[in-house]
Symmetry: C2
Subunit: 345 residues, 2 copies
DNA sequence: CGGTCAAGTGGAACCGCTCCCAAGGGCGGT
DNA sequence: ACCGCCCTTGGGAGCGGTTCCACTTGACCG
């Protein structure tokens, strides 16, 4: 039973021990070389590296994790209620940014959708089983219990967006208020008089902030925004339609609508058209997110773009910091937004 | 230097051993209870379960993985070149389906974007490090080396779509040929005479199959599809525009275009409009994917819907099969598609 | 009533790695 | 020539599970 070439690819994976034997050194030495410790002579290092290459050795992560209790992985957690996110560049860009930033580390990315209490529990179990070093949390609602749980478990977290003005955890957010204000200023500059808004669900700080931006722009122009001009919706197209209908009922003479998302705007647009209003002649329309729909509606939507990939990258950077220095200071960043003017207003 | 640091609440996770002590049984017994082995008396089981609950015990996955060499995780691998996927419901639905199916297992989902050779190598290393039990592969091009690598490593794989007609690996695909044929039949039924097509990159079987469906429909109607009527593009909007321009040059009297994707169709639509053609009066337009753009163009696009979430679910099911029975038979499934008629043709 | 056997249980061995400690060797200083 | 020190190195002791084997026990059988 000679230990011959288990050379069949895929069958046997060489262990550190085998590398040590081949290189004629001890296990500790191989470990040091593999992990780039400086306490190894150049000659030995070369020999070991040769052996590693020859055997195609790759360290077994489970074994390493077991002893270091680092998982070398982070999780991106998304409430499934937000699956809509997936169909927008927002999410794609976040992922893209996250992966880009992760590429230089040895970390892996776990994707976790949480759709109900059961899955929430499952997630807790994961975390408790020490499967990840940190968590990226997207689209948190104000009363989401998850951030609290994570904090209790002492697991580093970074949020995309914040739960409220005053957010204790680390987060990276887009300047929603500023973006919304810019959008409404643009409408004002275009001479619009009766500017309405359709908001997202106000238990999300994003929606709240965009509404605040709308109000701020009106206020600085010396106009009191009447509540009649505010239509409430969730972030769906259907919600946009319903809200637009109500607004038209309540304020038939409105001449502009700032929508808290492009999808909302798309819904609103349908209703406006059905009501015989021309966009932008009769009613100007501005969205938010600069998502793919914005470019394809007729007319294309003026919208607010967020630096989403950058947001993903930054989140990872912050998370790595927190992982490296647990209990360190929290980091909170707000990234700028940009108005993209198209034909809708 | 006393080993303090570990007493922070939330820091220390109870081990199997501690549960055993509390329950007054051996480690093996606890393990059996935790893993649902039948070889435990009801009384003992109850005692152990009590102890588990009391301590909030959750098995350490790394330790388990180390000895069982099951990773309890699968990877979803996406070539980054296909990030466009992310902005379409296609991908969102795949993920959603995958997660839904995974929810009942103990498996986790790793998301891996591969954007260049370096990351491809990194992926190989992951796989070799036994971090996953299987791989879901999306958007494979014909000459993609990844499937081959995986096969060599003896890692179970299921593809979304296939590389060619004759695909050795397991896959789940939509009936692209059938869908395309249905789309073109619909155009024929509408009385269209000069039906063109804009294809995706022909090194992908999806694109090829959709083109084949187009040809099949023409053939069965007794019309030889001239090559003049075929415009080549990648799956981008820009590609759609370019291809549409060429087609108009070559075949000014075309009265319908079947596009291999909605995004292509959206591009084509812009060019048609710019050229003064009315859709659908002068030129009928049909897309594929029933993506979010399809509903928002003006007019909304007739398109072919694929059962994408189902596709994700099925992929997982097949993969679990392969994992359970390595070296077992390959499974290959084709799921039906459905024509969604809107105003564009 | 001894013998057979299945069920239930405890515990050792081991998975592959990191970490630490002790030991070997080289070298400058005295 | 000897001592002390630093640089390298080998290898033991776990990390927290699973698995297998051996042992105890009580039931059942002839």
């Amino acid at each position: 039973m000679s230990s011959t070439a288990q050379r069949r690819p895929g069958a046997h994976r060489p262990t550190l021990e085998e590398v040590a034997v081949l290189a004629g050194v001890g296990r500790g030495t191989v470990s040091r070389v593999v992990n780039g410790s400086p306490r190894v002579s150049d000659r030995t290092r070369a020999v070991v590296e040769q052996a590693v290459a020859e055997l195609g050795y790759v360290p077994n992560r489970a074994a390493r994790t077991l002893v270091t209790s680092r998982a070398d992985a982070i999780a991106l957690v998304v409430p499934e209620t937000e699956t809509r996110l997936f169909s927008e560049p927002y999410f794609a860009d976040i992922i893209s940014g996250v992966c880009a930033e992760l590429a230089d580390s040895e970390l892996q990315l776990l994707l976790v959708l949480v759709r109900d209490q059961r899955e929430r529990d499952r997630l807790s179990a994961y975390l408790r089983a020490q499967r990840v070093d940190g968590v990226l949390l997207v689209a948190v609602h104000r009363d989401d219990p998850l951030p609290g749980t994570l904090e209790e478990l002492r697991i580093p977290v970074v949020l995309a967006g914040r739960r409220a003005d005053h957010e204790p955890l680390s987060y990276v957010a887009a300047d929603n208020l500023g973006g919304a204000r810019a959008a409404v200023r643009h409408l004002l500059a275009g001479g619009r008089e009766r500017i309405a808004t359709i908001t997202g669900p106000l238990d999300m700080e994003v929606a709240e902030a965009r509404l605040a931006g709308y109000r701020a722009a009106l206020a600085e122009a010396g106009r009191a925004g009447s509540d009649d001009l505010v239509g409430l919706a969730d972030f769906t197209e259907q919600g946009g339609r319903a809200a637009m209908r109500e607004l038209l009922d309540r304020v038939p003479d409105l001449d502009a609508v700032f929508c808290a998302s492009d999808v909302l705007a798309a819904g609103a647009l349908q209703v406006l058209r059905a009501a015989g209003r021309r966009v932008p002649e009769d009613v100007a329309l501005v969205g938010f997110d600069d998502s793919i729909v914005a470019r394809h509606t007729d007319p294309p939507l003026t919208s607010v773009r967020q630096p989403t990939a950058e947001l993903g990258r930054t989140m990872v950077r912050l998370l790595l910091d927190e992982i490296a220095e647990p209990g360190g200071p929290r980091h909170q960043l707000v990234l700028g937004t940009e108005l993209v003017v198209r034909d809708s207003g």
